[in-house]
Structures are given as structure tokens and as C-alpha cells.
Amino acid sequence: MTALTHVLPYLVAVWVFLAGCYGLATSRDLIHAVGCLSVCQAATYVLLLAVGYRDGGTAPVFSDVTPGSRPVVDPVVQALALTDVVVGATVTALLLALVVQVAKRHGTVDPDELSELRG
């Protein structure tokens, strides 16, 4: 049990990242591709938070526990991840805005039909 659980979170992060990459590479729809990109992004959060976890720890928020009474997990990775979640959503929105324009100008959101830029 423990041998597996000690690497399982990292493996899940890797799996999610690779799955997102696969979806992105084989996507037939740009909106779907943007969704896959946000899956890749979720993998980075999972990895970051898994790295910061401490056995038996609790959140480093001392509104309802006394400081020092319980071990706490790493707050730094949480800060890194939490800003990135919201920012990631707005970046997704920017990508979707580009997709909207692609749909308008090309009349399709299938990457296979976009063949203007090559060579």
C-alpha cells in the first residue's frame, strides 16, 4: 500500500499530462483542443500540490487551529497553484477568443481543414 501511495499522486499527474497532450495532438476540434490544454494544466496543479503535501498535515491556515499544534503542509506550492488556476482560466478564455475568430474567418474549427499556413 505505502510503496504505491508514495508515487501514485505523481503518476496520476504524469498520466493526466500525457492524456491531455494526446488529446491535443489528435483533436479534430479546436474547442476540444483548448479543453485538452486545460487538462494538461490541471496536471501541473496536481503535481505541485502533491509535492507540497505532508503526511498528517493540515492546511497552513490558522483561523481555526493554533499555530504549531498540528503539522502543516507547504503553503508555497499552494500559493503558486491558486493564482495559476484563475489566471489559467483567463488564458483559456483568450485561446477561446482566438478559436471564435478562427471559426469566423475560416468557417470551421477542424484543424484538418485549416491549411493556409504551410511550407
Binding site: 499527474a13 499530462f17 497532450c21 491535443l24 495532438a25 489528435t26 483533436s27 479546436l30 483542443a33 483548448v34 490544454l37 494538461c40 494544466q41 496536471a43 501541473t44 503535481l47 505541485l48 509535492v51 508555497v76 506550492v77 503558486l80 495559476d84 489566471v87 488564458v91 483568450l94 485561446l95 482566438l98 478559436v99 475568430q101 478562427v102 474567418r105 475560416h106 484543424p111 484538418d112 485549416l114 491549411s115 493556409e116 499556413l117 504551410r118 511550407g119
Partner: protein, 593 residues
């Protein structure tokens, strides 16, 4: 003095925020003028800080000075290379803003401040990346400059190609950024630190490199090399640079791509160069192999383009390859040479893009065949394009020539040949364009319309819309003055005695703490090689113009051109392959360790 470092970021950001807040009510000239003033102010600040950068400035953001060697704050590093890049960014942004005042279409109603504000945020992001001394902070600014670059690339939303190129750019670079973040997480797991120097120390304390260090190295490098457009991560670059508005192209090709190279240098030098990082031999292998592949690919593709902006984009790829080879020597001479080369290249490439922009605005096309002989009246622009081409070739006394001679001497052996050939081929392509477009030399291409007869794997330049909204009757003075000044700057970088040595001192102040001083000056061999590649470029261009059939064999480069398919899925697949290649190239470090 060191307290002023964060202002490099804060000033342009504040300018952008105020412009965005008031942009709705400002007339366009005021908005543009304000943006130029902010950009000029931060350029002055960057130069001032650069003058005081020896010994390197360090600043802990938020005043979190280290206690017992450890801090919880963010380190900003104001050393020679960092501040030098920041100064380059500021100067080039100023040039781009000055150029865009007359070139861009009237902004949509109510968005007068949006374009200059975005450019200022772009500047802030690039400056922040240049002075970041903290891995996650570097990631944040990296992401900021990427996000702004996507928006700026797709700025001309009426154009089908612009939005497609911007989307490919955005998807590939976002994925690269996530790879970088994964790498940061892995390194944090091992070391528990985020400041670059601390990570390096902690890796050294841990012992010889293992699979974790390798993966961290590969992932971090993937993110940075995507930005630097190294093979096989380069596919997004021509798609994006060919369609972005001209002032944005100047920034993208002039400094943003080079910042990727700078990031590789910074990260390797501070994090992975110790005993716990990657041995020098492996880093050398990774950088030189990728650099050589990039240089060759860029040069070949550059030669086969007829879309002028795309041609320039490929020449940027070729030169990035040369930068990577120079860095791959891991010697102070290589670093100095590349630093100077980057400065010279920024001036030359931005000037060339500006000239291409003039063509687009004046004639509504950037296709070499369509424009054949049509630009005869633009003599001044013709002189600038030829000068820029010779600058790319490395004709002394351009700054590119001085930097190149140093880098190629440091690389030595077969790489010298590669340097000469790559710079000659990219310059020859530009000279060919100049001869055909401005002088009307050579036979008129048969299918001047550019439609129908083109082979399937070609992007013509005839579908572009002038950025000014309509074709200009005459070229405004600012649009010609900007490239002229940029070229003059590139020339001065090589011609002004002492500039090269100053650059070298700034670089060595960061790497060897000023212990090793290399003096950079012209050597007979360097001048000779520079002249050789210029002559080669002229000869190649002459043959290409006189006998178009002889050199432009479309069949031979077709497999390479087919790879550039314009398909986002392909680009992502190549990105995955690229990480694997990086891993394989660096693998011996782990196996031996």
C-alpha cells in the same frame, strides 16, 4: 540603486494600466505618445541600471532580505546580461511603438489605448523575465510575455491567417509553459527552493544527477526552447511571425525569441552547471546538436520562401540555432560572442521587418513574386534592405559580424563552416528578394498572381491586407527613420570601439564574477570569415536571380517543407518528440553518474 530594479517591470505596467483605463477617452496621438514616453523612460532606467551593474545588483522583492542565507522573497538579478537584455527590450519596444504610430490602422472605436497598452505589458513581461532570479518568477513573466504575444499576433482579427497563426502560437507555447511548470515542480520537490542559485546549491548538495534532475532539465528546457524556436519546437514561429502586425514582429523576432536563448543560458548557468546538475559534456551535446539542426532547418526553409515576412521568420530560426551553438561551447568567449550577436541581430532583424512592413503598407503584398520590380521607387528602403541583408551575413563592421566572429571562433571546427553557410544563405535569400523586388532583376515570375499555380506546400504573401487599412500613397518619415536608426545601432555595435569589450565585461561580471576578462575586438580571421559569408551571400543571390531554376529545386526541400503543415496537432506531436530527443541527448549524464 538596487531598489529600482522592480521599476523596470512596474513602470511599463503602470503605464499600460493607466492607458487602458483612460484609452477610451484619449485621442490616438496622445495614447501613442504616452506609451512612447513610458517606454523611453523605462529604457533610460534600464540603461542607468546597466551602467551600475558591476558588481551585479541584487534585490529581494518585498524587502525580504535573506536571514541566515535563506529568504522567503523573490530574488531579482540585475547583472550585465539580464539588464542588457532588459535595455535591449526597452529600446526595441520604443522603436516598435514609434513605428506603429503611423503604420497601424486606426484602432477600433473605443480601443485607442489597447494596442500600446498591450505592447507596454509585453515590454514589462520581457523585462521581468530578463531580471528574474527566481525560477517561478521567471515562469510568471515568461507566461505574461507569451499571453500578450498571442493577443498581439492575432490583433488583426479580420485576417484568417492571423488568427490561425496566433492560435498555433498560443497552443504550442502554452503547452511549453506547462512543461516548464512541471519541471519547476520536480525541481522544487527535490530541492525545496525556488531561487535559481538556491536550487543549484541544493542540487549540488544532493549528489550526482539522476533521472529526476534529467527530467527537470528536459522539461525546463522544453519550455524555454519552445520560446527560442529550436528544432523541433520551431513550427509555431513562422506561422506567428508571418501574420503578426509588423511592430509586433520586430519585438517577437528581435528580442522575444532571443529571451528564450537567454533563459537557457541563465538556467543552465545558475542551476545545472554544478556537480549536481548536468555535466558540461552533455549540456554541450544537447545545445550544439539542437543548435546545428535549427540552423540548418532555418536556413533551408528561409531560402525556399516567397512570403517575405515568413522568410525573415525562418532566418530568425536559423540565427537562433547559431546562438544555441555559441552558448553550447560553454566558454566565456562563446557567451560574449552570442551576447554581441544578439544585440546586432536584434537591430538588423527589426529593421528588416520594418522594411517588409513598408512594402506591405505601400503595395498590399509581401510576396516576392507579386512585387517583382514594383518597388523600384522606394530607393531608401532598398538600401536599408540590402544593408540589413549584409548585416545578417555578418559583413564587418556590423555588430552581428563581431559577435559572430567570436562565437564561431569559440565553437571552432565544423561549426565555423556552419556559421558561415547559415548566415550566407539567410542573407542571400534577403538579397534575392531585394534584387527582385526593388531592382526588378531576373525574369518575371510566370504566375505573378500567386494564385492557382502555386504548389501545395507554399504560403504566398499575396493574401495579406495592408495594416494601415488602405495602401499608403507615400511612406511616412517615422516608418523609414525607425529601421534606419536600428541599422545604425547594429552598425555601431560593431564599429564603436570598446562596445564589444563592454558587453564582454558585462557578461563576464555575471558568469565568472569578473575574474576572466576577454577583450572583444576584430581579428583578421573574424573579418575574413565575415567578408567570406557576405561574398557568398551576394554570389548565391546573384545566381538565384539570374538562373531561378538552378538553385530553387522545390523537390529537394519538400520533405522538410511538408513537416510545416500548419496543423496544430502536428506541432504538439513534434513538441513531444522534442522532449524525448532532449532526454535522449542528455541521457548519458545519468547513465554515467
Amino acid at each position: 540603486m538596487h531598489h529600482l530594479l522592480p521599476l523596470l517591470v512596474a513602470v511599463p505596467l503602470l503605464g499600460a494600466a493607466l492607458l487602458a483605463a483612460t484609452g477610451r477617452h484619449l485621442p490616438r496621438t496622445v495614447a501613442d505618445g504616452a506609451a512612447c514616453a513610458v517606454s523611453a523612460g523605462s529604457a533610460a532606467l534600464a540603461l542607468l541600471l546597466l551602467a551600475h551593474s558591476s558588481p551585479p545588483l541584487t534585490e529581494w522583492a518585498g524587502g525580504w532580505e535573506p536571514v541566515a542565507g535563506h529568504s522567503v522573497g523573490i530574488l531579482l538579478t540585475g547583472d550585465g546580461p539580464g539588464l542588457g537584455m532588459a535595455a535591449l527590450v526597452c529600446v526595441l519596444t520604443l522603436a516598435a511603438l514609434a513605428y506603429s504610430r503611423r503604420s497601424l490602422d486606426e484602432p477600433p472605436h473605443g480601443h485607442a489605448g489597447a494596442f500600446p497598452a498591450l505592447v507596454l505589458v509585453f515590454q514589462a513581461g520581457m523585462c521581468g523575465f530578463a531580471i528574474a532570479g527566481d525560477l517561478f518568477n521567471a515562469f510568471v513573466w515568461f507566461e505574461l510575455m507569451s499571453v500578450v504575444a498571442y493577443a498581439l499576433t492575432g490583433h488583426r482579427v479580420e485576417e484568417a491567417r492571423a488568427v490561425q497563426g496566433a492560435l498555433a502560437f498560443a497552443v504550442v507555447n502554452s503547452l511549453g509553459a506547462y512543461a516548464l511548470l512541471m519541471g519547476i515542480a520536480l525541481l522544487y520537490a527535490r530541492t525545496g527552493e525556488l531561487a535559481l542559485a538556491r536550487i543549484g546549491d541544493a542540487l549540488d548538495a544532493h549528489g550526482p544527477p539522476d533521472a529526476l534532475v534529467l527530467a527537470g532539465f528536459v522539461l525546463v528546457l522544453t519550455g524555454l526552447l519552445v520560446k527560442a524556436a529550436a528544432v523541433p519546437f520551431q513550427f509555431w514561429l513562422p506561422d506567428a511571425h508571418a501574420v503578426a502586425p509588423t511592430p509586433v514582429c520586430m519585438l517577437l523576432s528581435g528580442v522575444m525569441v532571443e529571451l528564450g536563448v537567454f533563459g537557457v543560458w541563465r538556467v543552465y548557468d545558475t542551476v545545472f552547471s554544478g556537480p549536481g546538475g548536468l555535466p558540461a559534456a552533455d549540456a554541450e551535446r544537447v545545445l550544439t546538436v539542437l543548435g546545428a539542426a535549427t540552423a540548418v532547418t532555418g536556413a533551408v526553409m528561409c531560402w525556399h520562401q516567397r512570403h517575405i515576412k515568413r522568410l525573415l521568420a525562418y532566418s530568425t530560426i536559423a540565427h537562433t540555432g547559431l546562438f544555441l551553438i555559441g552558448l553550447g561551447t560553454l566558454t566565456p568567449e562563446g557567451d560574449d560572442g552570442v551576447a554581441l550577436y544578439v544585440v546586432g541581430h536584434a537591430g538588423v532583424k527589426a529593421a528588416l521587418f520594418a522594411c517588409a512592413g513598408i512594402l506591405l503598407d505601400r503595395y498590399g503584398s509581401v510576396d516576392e513574386h507579386v512585387l517583382h520590380g514594383r518597388a523600384r521607387p522606394l530607393r531608401g528602403v532598398a538600401v536599408m534592405v540590402v544593408a540589413g541583408a549584409l548585416g545578417l551575413a555578418g559583413l564587418p563592421p556590423f555588430g552581428t559580424a563581431l559577435g559572430k566572429s567570436f562565437a564561431e571562433e569559440a565553437a571552432g571546427g565544423p561549426f565555423t563552416v556552419l556559421y558561415v553557410l547559415t548566415s550566407a544563405v539567410t542573407a542571400a535569400a534577403v538579397l534575392r528578394v531585394a534584387a527582385r523586388v526593388f531592382l526588378g532583376l531576373g525574369p518575371t515570375p510566370r504566375e505573378a498572381g500567386g494564385e492557382g499555380a502555386e504548389d501545395a506546400y507554399e504560403t504566398t504573401g499575396s493574401g495579406e491586407e495592408p495594416e494601415s487599412g488602405r495602401r499608403m500613397a507615400r511612406v511616412p518619415d517615422t516608418m523609414t527613420a525607425v529601421p534606419a536608426l536600428l541599422l545604425a545601432g547594429a552598425l555601431a555595435a560593431g564599429a564603436v570601439p570598446g562596445f564589444g569589450t563592454a558587453v564582454a565585461r558585462a557578461v563576464s561580471g555575471a558568469t565568472t564574477a569578473g575574474l576572466v576578462h576577454t577583450s572583444v575586438h576584430w581579428t583578421p580571421l573574424g573579418v575574413g570569415l565575415g567578408l567570406l559569408s557576405s561574398l557568398l551571400a551576394v554570389a548565391l543571390a546573384a545566381v538565384a536571380v539570374a538562373r531561378p531554376g538552378r538553385l530553387a529545386v522545390p523537390g529537394r526541400a519538400l520533405p522538410l517543407r511538408r513537416l510545416q503543415s500548419g496543423h496544430i496537432g502536428d506541432y504538439v506531436a513534434w513538441l513531444l518528440v522534442g522532449t524525448t530527443v532532449l532526454g535522449v541527448l542528455a541521457l548519458p549524464a545519468v547513465l554515467s553518474g
